[in-house]
């Protein structure tokens, strides 16, 4: 295999296509039988709860193989992505995780303020007004939801 073919094999579309094809087969033969129950005495297979996921699984398999084949005939030009420092990504991950893990325990307002300030800080926002906004906005949004719309949001440490 020459360099050209090796490059095509390693291009994102081919990797994606092959991975998806493997996952599709796993989905059809392992996932569907394990996680989709079929009612007993089913007369028409098209009425089965497994039918549509099965068809879509095969659809994914055929399309992913088509993607791999198409790549060999009409290769896409890979775009060069410039990545940011891993610190920024790490902080973003921490913010997303804290929204999921601490939103109810710490409260919507506190986690909102901390997350917004952290995201401002890592992108070097210097405006004082922006930081005042970061602190005030979660309060405003919280009271808009809870008071005007009567939609409860977690109070967390600000519990009455």
């Amino acid at each position: 295999m020459n360099d050209f073919d090796t490059r095509r094999l390693l291009c994102p579309n081919v990797i994606f296509g092959i991975t998806l094809a493997i996952l599709s087969i796993a989905f059809i033969y392992a996932f569907i039988p394990a996680f989709i129950n079929e009612p007993p005495g089913l007369k028409n297979p098209m009425l089965s709860p497994r039918w549509l996921p099965m068809v879509m699984g095969w659809g994914c398999f055929i399309l992913s193989m088509s993607l791999v084949i198409a790549e060999f005939f009409h290769p896409e030009i890979a775009e060069h992505h410039v990545h940011e420092k891993s610190l920024h990504v790490l902080v973003l991950c921490a913010v997303l995780l804290s929204y999921v893990l601490l939103f109810e325990t710490a409260g919507a307002i506190l986690i909102g303020v901390v997350a917004t300030v952290a995201l401002f800080a890592i992108r070097s926002v210097k405006s004082i007004v922006a930081y005042i906004l970061a602190i005030a906005l979660p309060f405003v949004v919280y009271f808009f939801f809870t008071t005007l719309l009567e939609v409860p949001l977690p109070t967390g440490i600000f519990m009455e």
Binding site: P49, C60, R123
Partner: protein
């Protein structure tokens, strides 16, 4: 006759009605413009406030919120790539690129004008053709719906851009995700892993926000920081020439919306995407679609808002609510001792015409309120991204949590956000995923119901002129997209050869 006319005027010409419409539209626009909050939620929240109001005032308040909410959903779709409703997900395909080019005002104006025109056409259809359209809707059974959904699914190809295979993969994945939860027919669990939160399936709000808004946030922190360049923001407004170019798509989209809206259970999403797809197919500027073409925004919004008045057709004439919002409005009618349906036209004709007058007025109010708010909303797009995106994230989290008061939904939103980011990096359009997710359950439900009615006989799918009409449309649409795709590839190959 004269007596009826006087009665209609006495019911309609009340200060309370005017105030209800104005408040309703304003609330609708504001709530629709908040990520996570939908027109449905706003109408549901407002229902208890209507108990003490007069019947006409109560209905007009809810209709005003509904119409304002539908337009409000497009504001966030255009400005921050966060659709307020699944239907406005189509608006962001061209609206957001326009905002990125500094044409936020123009995009918002296009959305507003096309929304108001479509709304007006839809209202006229409601007033003049309600009984006729209701008769057509009555002929829609599960097989007819099935083919309508099949036709709607063909639009996946046109919203996939150049990468059709990837778009189809996304649609298949969307349909698979839509299968999560309890099976609609047998109630058996599908891919729930015994998790209580998955029994009801994946909610569309966290999925939609995750798919469109969160990838923008992730991408901003993932890619290398660019020096802050103040771009030449184009503050120009929509010119008459541009408006004329969009008009054909607006009118066509409005009628698509009217027809789809009058059929209960189809919804604005299919209408918006069909209208967009048709505009893309016929427009001389089709190459600009997806890159910030005002006609794309106009077509989508016309399809979306063309549904608004028409959904009231099956409600008022047959007593059948077409979607959740009209079901809530039906509830409001019943609370006030009124039962929509054929009898209502005999017993409460004056009241119905008073509501019609209010509905027409609501389009004008929407136009005025929308115009007044555009200049303030468009300032959002001028905010620097380091400030804007964390705020967007905050709204997304609060809004998503508010839907079901569930932290699980926030996790779902981030999971789909990561998937959306991966899609963007792989050049996979997210819109086909959303279309698959929304249309998948409708496809399966109507397939199952057809098979149950016919006891497994497949000839039910070709039982009448409506099914044949949609089969022909589906085939024609497929042939057209395959031809266009083939032509595109031939042109690309020629360009490549010339370059070599």
């Amino acid at each position: 006759m004269m007596e009826n006319f006087t009665e209609v005027l006495s019911l309609f010409l009340s200060v309370d009605n005017f105030i209800a419409i104005i408040i309703g539209v304003v609330i609708g626009v504001v709530i629709g413009a908040i990520p996570g909050l939908t027109a449905t939620m706003a109408v549901a929240l407002a229902l208890p406030f209507t108990f003490s109001l007069e019947p006409v005032t109560a209905i007009l308040l809810l209709v005003g919120i509904y119409k304002g909410g539908m337009y409000g959903g497009s504001i966030t779709a255009i400005l921050i790539k966060t659709p307020g409703s699944p239907a406005s997900a189509c608006t962001l395909l061209d609206g957001y690129p326009m905002a990125q080019k500094g044409q936020a005002t123009k995009a918002l104006q296009t959305a507003l004008y096309s929304s108001c025109i479509a709304d007006f056409i839809s209202n006229l259809s409601l007033i003049f053709f309600a009984s006729y359209l209701a008769k057509i809707a009555m002929n829609f059974g599960p097989p007819e719906f099935f083919w309508l959904i099949c036709f709607s699914l063909t639009i996946i190809v046109s919203v996939s851009g150049e990468a059709i295979i990837k778009g189809l993969i996304a649609a298949c994945l969307g349909i698979i995700v839509s299968c999560i939860g309890l099976d609609q027919m047998y109630g058996t669990e599908r891919m729930t892993f015994g998790h209580y939160d998955l029994m009801d399936g994946i909610s569309f709000v966290p999925l939609m926000i995750g798919l469109f808004a969160i990838p923008e946030v992730i991408d901003f922190y993932y890619t290398k920081a660019q020096p802050h360049i103040i771009k030449n923001v184009d503050k120009s407004k929509l010119s008459l020439q541009e408006f004329k170019q969009c008009l054909k798509s607006i009118i066509r989209g409005s009628f698509i919306g009217v027809i789809i809206g009058s059929i209960p259970g189809t919804g604005a999403t299919a209408s918006a995407f069909i209208s967009y797809s048709e505009a893309k197919r016929t427009s001389p500027r089709r190459a600009n679609f997806g890159k910030g073409e005002p006609e794309g925004v106009a077509a989508s919004e016309a399809g979306n808002n063309g549904v608004a008045g028409a959904t009231l057709i099956p409600l008022l004439s047959l007593g059948i609510p077409g979607d959740i919002i009209t079901a809530i409005i039906l509830g409001a009618f019943m609370i006030h001792g009124l039962t929509p349906g054929p009898l209502m036209f005999q017993q409460n004709l004056s009241l119905i015409y008073a509501i019609f007058c209010g509905i027409m007025l609501s389009s004008i109010v929407l136009f005025i309120v929308g115009n007044l708010t555009i200049k303030y909303f468009s300032k959002v797009s001028d905010l620097p991204k380091p400030i804007l995106l964390p705020i967007v994230l905050l709204f997304c989290v609060f809004g998503t949590y508010a839907v079901n008061n569930s932290i699980f939904d926030i996790g779902v939103m981030f999971a789909f956000g990561i998937m959306g980011f991966f899609f963007a990096k792989m050049g996979i359009a997210a819109a086909p995923f959303l279309i698959g997710f929304i249309l998948g359950p409708m496809f399966e439900d109507n397939l199952h119901r057809s098979l149950l009615i016919s006891k497994g006989d497949l000839s039910i799918f070709v039982r009448g002129p409506i099914t044949w009409f949609f089969i022909a449309l589906t085939i024609a649409s497929l042939i057209f997209v395959i031809r266009r795709w083939h032509q595109g590839r031939t042109v690309n190959a020629e360009v490549d050869q010339n370059l070599e």
